[in-house]
């Protein structure tokens, strides 16, 4: 055991190299954790609306829809057809579209408008901060998401230099030349494009939206107990020609679209890969140089009776310590970023799988470094101790 204390003291005693190696691993794990979390944050924003709408078992839509924002409106009669499918307990219409809100200073802001079924208000915002969902039944009522109310839809201050005033209940908006009264502020998952989200009733959304032949974006359906969602989805498809997905399927469809059709995965993958290479380069090179510096002392240990197995354990302990301290620091900073980024524009989602991946990556760096150094140590001739 004591010989491992010697190994640690040899490592920590060389402060400059120890800090350089810890910095290398910390930087790597920070880059990997942060970039992966931002990637996941962005991906989760693409499906945020599905995530915020847990009530339906099935999302019914045009078969050509590729992702949640790719709305291909349906005929209103499709709603009745879906309601007629065996196994469907209820089905409600949902409008989802981008409308322009005119701000008091005369500028326009594009908003995601969600039109909820007038009777049930299914698919409303997950958390109300001010007002209640039922207030949507008041004349011209809309509910605005907190981020939009505090940010892009906030009113100008009294003077050009004074801070903007968040939108509050009772404020009036102009949506596509229609009057809308804020009746509630809600918390919703931010959208991919970070646009404000405005909830209203389906019928009011029809009024706000520009005239089109078809405006029904999705049909949300609940499966009757005793029926499987998969079977009912197939049945809907057979009888109506529409596609019906469960929430996980619809999320998968959306994420796959973004993965295939945007440069996001490549960009973040490159950042993560570069982070890994930077780690290998910094840690590998510094540790190798640390081993070269200590070659004489390792030779002495070898001459005095340390076998290769013991030296391997000593070096492994040194690299593992560097790995633990460095990845702990890097992931700690990333976790702190995650806390600070909460409720901000920064898309940051840090599930437990990300630190696991980071630990695996830093372990790989540690392993590569150990193996690279061991070749030198194993081939070390103990006779080095007699060379001046």
């Amino acid at each position: 055991m004591g010989v491992y204390v010697i190994a640690l003291k040899m490592l920590i005693g060389n402060r400059g190299k120890f800090y350089a190696m810890v910095f290398g691993v910390a930087l790597t794990s920070l880059i990997i954790t942060q970039q992966s979390s931002i990637f996941l944050g962005l991906m989760s924003r693409t499906v945020g609306f599905i995530f915020d709408t847990p009530q339906p078992d099935l999302w019914v839509m045009d078969p050509k829809v590729q992702f949640v924002d790719d709305v291909k409106p349906l005929q209103d009669t499709k709603l009745f057809q879906v309601r007629g499918v065996e196994g469907v307990e209820w089905a409600v219409p949902l409008y989802k579209g981008a409308l322009r809100a005119r701000l008091p200073n005369g500028t326009f802001q594009t908003c995601n408008v969600i039109g909820l079924d007038d009777a049930t208000l299914v698919a409303g915002p997950p958390t109300m901060i001010d007002g209640s969902l039922a207030d949507l039944r008041r004349a011209d009522g809309v509910i605005v998401d907190e981020a939009g109310a505090n940010g892009k839809l906030a009113k100008p201050g009294a003077t050009p230099t004074s801070p903007r005033v968040p939108l509050r209940v009772g404020d009036v908006l102009e949506l596509n030349d229609n009057r809308a009264v804020v009746v509630g502020i809600a918390r919703a998952t931010r959208t991919f494009q970070s646009q404000p989200v405005i909830y209203t009733t389906y019928s009011r959304a029809m009024r706000f939206a520009p005239r089109e032949r078809k405006l029904l974006s999705f049909i949300l359906a609940k499966v009757r107990s005793g029926y499987s969602s998969r079977d009912v989805a197939l049945q809907i498809n057979r009888q109506t020609g529409l596609a019906a997905y469960t929430a996980p399927q619809f999320k998968g469809l959306t994420i796959r679209y973004f993965m295939r059709n945007t440069g996001i995965p490549i960009n973040f993958g490159m950042a993560v890969g570069l982070g890994f290479l930077v780690g290998v380069a910094i840690v590998g090179q510094t540790f190798f140089s640390f081993i070269v510096d200590n070659m004489r002392y390792l030779g002495i240990l070898k001459a005095m009776g340390a076998n290769n197995r013991l030296l391997f354990h000593m070096i492994l302990l040194q690299t593992v310590l560097v790995g633990i301290v460095g990845s702990g620091l890097g992931m700690g900073i990333a976790a702190l970023t995650s806390i600070l980024a909460k409720n901000s524009e920064l898309a940051f989602y840090l599930p437990w799988q990300v630190p696991v991946v980071t630990v695996l990556a830093t372990s790989l760096i540690t392993l590569i470094t150990t193996v690279a150094s061991l070749r030198k140590v194993f081939s070390l001739e103990p006779g080095i101790v007699f060379r001046g």
């Binding site: 055991m1 004591g2 003291k9 004489r296 005095m304 009776g305 340390a306 076998n307 006779g383």
Partner: protein, 239 residues
């Protein structure tokens, strides 16, 4: 009493490109337990190779070399490493103390390698350091010690596990005359206890008189053995 070191017709060559350069050319030598044997000779004559063979760091190509009756050439690398751990202590010209460790920690290394408990090893290291006159420097790092003190720490490290053979490479060449004398006196007082044998490679003629015998090497051979510096000078003048 059987010899501590018994070498007969020991040869060793190094490969230089496609040619073999002989370093030892039939060394025959016996060193007795309790003897301080010095190996002297010009640079490149094979002194370092010979002590490397004697210490079990290198294997000879031919001939026989028994250390306390054991033939190291017949041992595997692992066995030779274990033999060194039990039986050999080293003192080097450049001290070779690990800079980040205290004097006591440096001295405790052979015991730790042998699997001793850290506290037990430190207690024994402190004891040996006191014997070599460094009781006040137990917690000092090598950089805080003079050259003579560092060499004392190195001697304590060579002694701590009570080996039967100690090999030293130029132990006084980095020290002034007085300190070198003190170190040699320490060798005679502390190292040559019991049946321990001490082999010193040196160029430092100021310490020849501490030797029981002096082996003069040249061109990979032990060309003569003297019992005192005077005898050595006499033979040199005859030459």
């Amino acid at each position: 009493m059987s010899a501590a070191i018994q070498c007969r017709d020991v040869t060793k060559s190094y490969a230089t490109g496609t040619t073999m350069t002989p370093a030892l050319q039939g060394i025959t030598l016996e060193i007795q337990p309790g003897e301080l044997f010095m190996l002297v000779g010009p640079s490149g004559c094979g002194k370092t190779t010979l002590i490397s063979v004697i210490a079990g760091i290198l294997s000879q190509d031919g001939g026989m070399c028994r250390i306390f009756g054991e033939d190291l050439k017949s041992m595997s690398d692992e066995e030779r490493t274990a033999f060194r751990l039990r039986n050999v202590g080293f003192v080097f010209q450049a001290y070779n103390l690990i800079p980040s460790l205290t004097a006591a920690e440096n001295v405790s290394i052979p015991l730790l390698l042998a699997g001793h408990d850290r506290n037990e090893a430190l207690i024994r290291a402190n004891e040996v350091l006191r014997h070599v006159g460094l009781g006040a420097k137990l917690e000092a790092k090598p950089a805080e010690l003079s050259g003579g003190q560092q060499q004392r720490v190195a001697i304590a490290r060579a002694l701590v596990h009570n080996p039967r053979l100690i090999v030293c490479d130029e132990p006084t060449s980095a020290l002034d005359h007085t300190t070198g004398g003190e170190i040699m006196a320490l060798f005679r007082r502390e190292v040559l206890k019991g049946d321990r044998a001490l082999v010193i490679v040196t160029h430092d003629s100021r310490i020849f008189h501490y030797a029981d015998r002096i082996g003069v090497m040249d061109d990979g051979r032990v060309v003569r053995i003297a019992h005192s510096p005077d005898e050595l000078e006499l033979e040199t003048s005859k030459d």
